[in-house]
Amino acid sequence: MNTAVEKSRAIGREVAIVHADDVDQKSRFPAETIQAVRAAGLLGASVPQSLGGLGASATDLVTMCQNLAQGCSASGMVFAMHHIKVASLVRHMGQEPKLRAYAERVVKEQRLVASVTSEVGVGGDMRSSVCAVERSESGFSVVKDATTISYGAHADDLLLTSRRASDSPAGDQVLVLLEKGNYELEPTTTWDTLGMRGTCSPGFKVRGKGPLGYILPTPFSEIATMSMVPYSHLLWSGVWLGIASEAVNRARTFVRGEARKRPGFTPPAAIRLAEVTTQLQTMREHIHAASAEYDELAARPDGGRDALSSMGWALRINQLKIASSEAAAAITHLALGICGILGYKNGSPFSIGRLHRDALSAALMINNDRIHTTNASILLVHKDDT
């Protein structure tokens, strides 16, 4: 696994960073980085070794996300979202032979998987769907009006949430796999944003179909609680840690340069550097503690079923998302203050603009206010008595 983490570091430093500004300026897919990720076999990282994958832990994946995002935030986010989906798939596909065969092909063919959880008409609530799966003897079909599909036009396959059947309530959802060739995407909106421009996440109308075996046997409510929410918050945090680390690196280099100009005088920005590295450490330690806890719980004989379905865990992982998303934007902002006008300018070795714009997306990917509302509700019954 160390080899795979090392590979991600090399790709971040040698490929992602080279194209990051171009990806940002043109709001284009980071094709070079994802190609390098494929060549290194990293799209299969979260697939268990028994199915040919690398069996990466959440902690390993967090570090890989950080390494890629340090070079290019969008590349890190594409990698994160792919593995959030693949980890959810492999943890909840059971013994369904079609899905197991598919997981093997994710590794062999290095297939890129995108997520279709958003939908017009549910008010941003991932746990509700309007669309419904239509079943017949030959398979299923579904039509979904998605408000956003990150790298939708560049993915091989899609994992899509939908109501279980046309008479199911909005919250009774299943996760279905749509393989390339079995779906059509019709763009409905564009993606011209402040940051995270390379994730290429416009809205699409999706029309898809598949064999019945491509409907995951586990209800989506359970997949979300046990895997998708924790993996999202952990891997996104890894991406944001990469962005924040890169901003602090640039600030550090800037301050060192100032110090060398006048040996004997501590540059005024040095005290801000001391402040921002403290924040970065807090952020890093929080993320690593949470990923280590997740890996420990998931390794239990019940797969973490008992502990991960508790309100205490939900509260903690939600709080991680809020804390790391706020830390990322605060840290890039401080780094901008340290690098000053050279940080404000684009194209300097100390530019912070792209990093700061990318970091601002963190609080909006599932809006922090929505998460605070959920936590506020949990706190009405949670006693912190364990």
Binding site: R127, R164, S168, P169, A170, G171, D172, P219, S221, E222, T225, R305, D306, S309, S310, M311, G312, A314, T374, S377, I378, L380, V381, H382, K383, D384, D385, T386
Partner: protein
Amino acid sequence: MKDKIRNILREHGKLAQDALSLLDEADLYQAGMTSHASVNVMLALESTFDIEFPDRMLKRNVFESIRAIEGAVTELVSGLSSKPAGAR
């Protein structure tokens, strides 16, 4: 006790069907109970039965069916709270 639980579910569970006609084993989440609704169900249960669910009981499977809720409430009402709850 089941009648009281059914009435609480009818009032707070936001279920797609009438809680009074639900089977004891029916999956309440599949019947439309959201996480938010489940908190209101918990609050109403705590108030109605004068109990407090400890954190170890605040998990999905403890509230997934009328039977599971009945088991948890019975355990707390009878004071057998050292017994592990919610084990499948």
